[in-house]
């Protein structure tokens, strides 16, 4: 008798997606304004369009925001989101397009890439859905940003899917760990002096 095949996943979509924005919602083609310039009689808007972004706010905050009927401060001004990339493009190092220079990339068998796929690298969150029609994504916590709350609600039709419980909590916890990390200084050792001491 054959043993059941086990598929390792790091993401699953919920059976029901609420009407409001939820933690772990994944949107496509979201634009943010980088800067607005005024030059003479010209008004110049510089924007960046992200192919995928994921909402990082706490679920209770999003629920309170949505249920707030008056203009009290339970309503959110901005939502925290992080860019996500097609994992194949991440591997090729071209995932930032022309925004940044090409990265080194890697192969799935590389130790560093395996660590990312096991969600052992604090900076990244790898999302692998069991469904083949869902993209294999990698979230980069380093480049999280905010978007106006009303602006994202106006683009709710760009929501692709959401993350189920546990998976979105895992995302949230790993994001919190990443932003609260403490970077310790490195010690510079003068090798010449070290040799003298010996």
């Amino acid at each position: 008798m054959n043993s059941p095949k086990i598929l390792k996943i790091s993401a699953r979509v919920p059976k029901k997606t609420p009407e409001r924005i939820s933690q772990g919602d994944i949107f496509s083609n979201i634009e943010i304004i980088e800067k607005i310039e005024v030059k003479g009689n010209k008004l110049i808007f510089n924007k960046i369009s992200f192919p995928y972004v994921v909402c990082l706010n706490q679920e209770c905050d999003l629920e309170n925001d949505f249920n707030e009927t008056q203009n009290r401060d339970r309503k959110l001004l901005h939502l925290a989101i992080a860019p996500a990339f097609n994992f194949e493009q991440y591997l090729s190092g071209t995932h930032w397009g022309c925004i940044y220079e090409q990265n080194q990339g890697g192969k799935r068998k590389d130790t560093a890439i395996k660590a990312i796929m096991d969600n052992q690298n604090p900076r990244y969150h790898y999302l692998k859905f069991p469904e083949k029609d869902k993209p294999e994504l990698i979230v980069d916590f380093k480049h999280f940003f905010t978007i106006n709350r009303d602006s994202l609600y106006e683009q709710l039709n760009k929501r692709l899917f959401s993350l189920d419980d546990l998976f979105r909590e895992n995302l949230s916890q790993r994001f919190c760990n990443y932003v609260s990390r403490i970077g310790l200084p490195v010690e510079i050792i003068d090798e010449c002096n070290e040799t003298d001491k010996r």
């Binding site: 634009e31 510089n46 924007k47 192919p51 990339f85 097609n86 071209t94 930032w96 397009g97 925004i99």
Partner: protein, 52 residues
């Protein structure tokens, strides 16, 4: 105060700086939109809710 409000026309150009996007290979891209106004607006004052 009327001077502070300008009707913004439709953009005169939409320049997709990185015109490289399709369904399979999607990356972030920069977009620049230029609105050309009927007059110079560099030195026009601002207004806030408190002003009104």
């Amino acid at each position: 105060m009327e001077e502070d409000y300008i009707n913004i026309p439709l953009p005169v150009s939409e320049d997709v700086v990185e015109d490289y996007i399709n369904l399979k290979e999607r990356t972030p891209k920069r977009i620049q939109i230029v609105y050309e106004l009927s007059k110079n607006i560099e030195n026009i004052g601002t207004s806030s809710q408190e002003d009104s």
